[in-house]
Subunit: 248 residues, 2 copies
Amino acid sequence: MVPTTIERPNYRLDKLQWNMVQVAHSVPLFRGLSEQEWGQVTPLLNGHCYPKDSYIFFQGDPPTALYIMWMGRVKLVRHTGHGRDVVMEVLGPGQLIGEMAIFDGRPYSMTAVTLEDVAVVSIARSDFFSLLERYPPISMGVISELSRRLRVTNELVRSLAVDRVEQRIARTLLRLADLAGRSYSTHPGAVLIDMALTRQDIAEMTGTTVETAIRVMSRFRKSGLVASVRGRVVIKEPEQLREVATRG
Amino acid sequence: MVPTTIERPNYRLDKLQWNMVQVAHSVPLFRGLSEQEWGQVTPLLNGHCYPKDSYIFFQGDPPTALYIMWMGRVKLVRHTGHGRDVVMEVLGPGQLIGEMAIFDGRPYSMTAVTLEDVAVVSIARSDFFSLLERYPPISMGVISELSRRLRVTNELVRSLAVDRVEQRIARTLLRLADLAGRSYSTHPGAVLIDMALTRQDIAEMTGTTVETAIRVMSRFRKSGLVASVRGRVVIKEPEQLREVATRG
DNA sequence: CGTTTGCTTGATACGTATCAAAGTTGGTGG
DNA sequence: CCACCAACTTTGATACGTATCAAGCAAACG
């Protein structure tokens, strides 16, 4: 069986029709704007497509644009001196990329890497500022997204500070399941984490090494908690995994 | 020598005169407002004082007010099940406390504990929202503060994920020196971190145990990098400490 | 196909947590 | 002023978790 059907999203990126009105309607950031205001906003939006495993921007780049996820998922990676990168977050449709850098003008603090074929909408830095000034609901959207991010990151800090690798990985899997989970027919209650995810990724999300991530995942597999299907992780026993995540 | 002079700020909290106009002028959040707008804002502000080691709010409390630091410092503590608390951040004058909770209405995600005598200004949740809607510069201020916090927290995540305890503590000390450092006459170049700071605090800021924090600090002391003076840390050799922080 | 990329397992060393006990300091009240 | 108490600091012995180094294996890919 060729995995192509599961690897590729069900749209052809190169033929994607950019309907900015539709974009403006479905992106949370623009919720709260009136019909007329949408008319003002849409001309400022630019559509872009990126294939899997490509870079939207690099850590250290000057902040030129804010990106809004439209289709697919990206990971935000923080590079460190010694090849031990850290994945800070995985973002999906509707979420913002690069807001911090855009806002304070400092370079992007992370690299945005696509996990699959991705479509995004960008707004030039200067345009974004004029939107912020003119439309209070947009500020609200930004604040809301930043708050959410801060909460997620705080929880990550807590987990890194006090949890052991096993718990951190369990937590991460459950979080990813929330983000990209679909029910998986084989097992009742089983959840497929529907995104390309290497052990290296898991290691970088949990602040550990590939080998340790593999060992933990193997242990989970042998206990029947998870399984791997075509490079994707299936959580077979969400409840038991949750137990692992919370026993400390 | 009585330590009172160094323990207590140079103002008497109980006699603090709340001049809200002055507050509004010097808090970054209100920068960008006109004279007239200040007049609208100040009636919504309430002054509070807290002695050292008291709680402004607890993790889990319903979000009733946003606080703006005026004098002194607080730490934001995340409690975990097993007595291993995590200090997420130390905040000083001008910074916001509780914005996230206020914004999304979920309970405070951390406990705010005063590190010394503290004066804060509070705004009721509902009042804060009306300010946000009416005055775009305030939204900007909130976004700015959230961005800053997110950057700091991201760096903490990176550090917890890849650095060893020694480096994490070195980094933390340098960060605190930036925040609350004053030059210390004994040594040229030496910096006194002017806040009450137990080894327990250091441990909770770096995701380790008291014992390990103590061992590392002892090592630093024996190498002449730091010293302890009346419960306060002096960085005697900032450059060497920076070297420890960045070698990895 | 060969080559790359990701996965897996094992042996070993190192860092840090944990448990235990004693020393130090600042504050309190007699 | 001293004695005492509680909180904080220190040191040591030991166990455990995880990183590191080294190999081999499987699957994907041009």
